[in-house]
């Protein structure tokens, strides 16, 4: 059963007056979605293809319990200090000999192949398939790579995502969320901070769509985790030199594949929605900007709150619209 929630809040006292959950009968194709960036690292791979060790709590085995639920490899990228090759194989895909193999240029963390920022074609994946992800690179360094996997209906997750028409319909104001993340040097995701840890300017009980983000330091991946995404980590490359491509990463994802791939979170969950970074052995301090759009209340299924806050929150009563 899908549920939505309506909340009435007294603006003056900031108290919840009324709250009720009700069954959601909206578009099913926007329910059950999940998006996950799975990152891994290879230690001193040199010229030998080395299987990546997935970051803590992650796996290169495709989630899912049903082959009919469509799953996609939406993007993949790597961050090498030394030039190398990224190879993704599975007997279920084209071949297990060479598969998807791409040159990784040094110190540039963007997709070499599935680059939806210029439109793309996604590789279908199959539930429980164990992908073989390998990397070559430097002989005395830790090299990293990421896969961005999209699940059109992942049972037991049901993350909150919207497509472009919905964003245009219910978008209100643009807001930037800035956080500072100190990455770890182990090759795992680390340094998680709450999304409101640096600047707590989000309007209470309001949905926000994450369009993408930018970073000032190069790394492998920026991750955003929260219950609104089913506790899976959505993410984008930590590449500072092409900010125009990462700034609207999820918008381009939704645009390229004409689907609901723009993650939405509610500010009621801001303390439990975290941002972290995965990078190589250098670690580093990252200033991350997440480009977000405030949404009209009650428009995205599964939200935590309702319309009462919007009027006092500075938002327009209806969508602000977009240039025609």
């Amino acid at each position: 059963m899908r549920v939505n929630t309506r909340v009435v809040i007294d603006i003056s006292s900031d108290r919840v007056l009324e709250r009720e959950c009700f069954k959601y009968d909206g578009a099913v194709e926007q329910c059950g979605r999940a998006l996950e960036v799975v990152a891994g690292f290879a230690t001193n791979p040199g010229a030998t293809f080395t299987a990546l060790t997935a970051s803590t709590g992650q796996s290169f085995t495709v989630r899912g319990t049903d082959l009919n639920a469509k799953t996609w490899l939406l993007s993949e990228w790597a961050f090498n200090a030394t030039v190398g090759e990224l190879r993704i194989r599975s007997p279920r895909l084209h071949d297990f000999f060479s598969g998807i193999r791409n040159r990784i240029t040094a110190a540039f963390s963007m997709p070499p192949n599935f680059s939806h920022v210029n439109d793309s074609y996604a590789q279908r994946l199959y539930a429980q398939d164990q992908l073989t992800v390998e990397l070559t690179g430097g002989a005395a360094e830790l090299d990293t790579a990421s896969l961005l996997i999209g699940y059109q209906d992942l049972g037991g997750i049901a993350g909150r995502f919207i497509d472009m028409p919905t964003l245009l319909k219910v978008g209100l104001n643009v807001v930037t969320i800035e956080v500072t993340v100190v990455a770890v040097t182990t090759g795992n995701f680390g340094g998680a901070v709450a999304i409101n840890s640096s600047i707590d300017n989000l309007i209470a009980n309001t949905d926000y769509a994450i369009l993408g983000g930018t970073t000032d330091t190069r790394g492998n991946a920026v991750g955003v985790t929260g219950v609104d995404f089913g506790n899976l980590r959505v993410g984008f490359p930590a590449e500072p030199s092409v900010r125009n491509l990462t700034a609207n990463w999820f918008v381009q994802l939704a645009d390229a594949f004409t689907g609901a791939w723009i993650p939405v979170f509610n500010s009621a969950n801001k303390t439990q929605t975290t941002v972290d970074v995965q990078t190589n052995g250098s670690g580093g301090t990252y200033i991350i900007n997440l480009n977000c759009v405030q949404l009209l209340a009650g428009q995205v299924p599964g939200g935590a709150t309702g319309a009462a806050v919007q009027a006092g929150g500075g938002g327009a009563p209806t969508s602000a619209g977009q240039p025609g």
């Binding site: 899908r2 549920v3 929630t5 919840v16 709250r19 959950c21 329910c31 999940a34 803590t56 709590g57 992650q58 989630r63 319990t65 049903d66 082959l67 009919n68 539930a127 429980q128 037991g156 997750i157 049901a158 993350g159 909150r160 100190v182 770890v184 040097t185 182990t186 795992n188 995701f189 680390g190 340094g191 998680a192 209470a204 009980n205 000032d216 991750g223 985790t225 219950v227 609104d228 995404f229 089913g230 506790n231 899976l232 980590r233 500072p240 030199s241 969950n269 303390t271 439990q272 975290t274 972290d276 250098s282 670690g283 580093g284 301090t285 299924p301 599964g302 939200g303 935590a304 709150t305």
Partner: protein
Amino acid sequence: MAPNPFPQSPDTHGEEDFPKGHPGRGDYDPGSDEAIEWARLHVAPLGQRDFPIDHPGAVDTPGHKNAITWEAGVDPFNPHLEAHSGRTPAQVAGLRALSDYASSVAKESPAAMPLDAIAVNAALDAKRKQVGRDILTEAEYSEVVSAFHKFKTTAEASAEIKATIQRQWEAIELLQTRGYTRNAALEILGREGADKILGTAEEAKHPEPTPPSTPPAAPPVSAPFNPLRR
């Protein structure tokens, strides 16, 4: 003679027809300094030059900037500054040391267990209603989420999932042996289900015996093999 400070005003000494050194002048002297300079500035085969002589964009202009590489984030006139930030090397070194220390003590992100966002949000809503606040404390939040962790996938459930997937692959492979593409097989699998596909195959492989209505015909009698017969 001092130059005319107002070149747009009428020249009291008479307007010259061509500048000094121009071959059109009546006093043209090819060997004069003016003529040589004029030729240097103006004589070039048509289409040979992209910019006039001494233009800052011309490749033969001393000090031209055509060879500068404009790398992203780098000021080519201050290449010693850090790309994208413009920090001095001393600043970079200091920040690097600070960042290295911070990274050495930073913690890895905890592994989060996947949850149903809609169900958890509904449960969090109920908790918020109960406490009358929108922002829950860490303990309140954990209390709600931990209830969902009780439904963590067991080893038996994982084995069951793998068995289901395996059966679905068997159904797909069976359909592929019958000439269906993988995409078509997946569609049929979605419509019919693995049990039906494999069940149908089992029935086709082992049909139930039916009593013959007529006695089977006797096998034809063939002539014995004779190697000399052509």
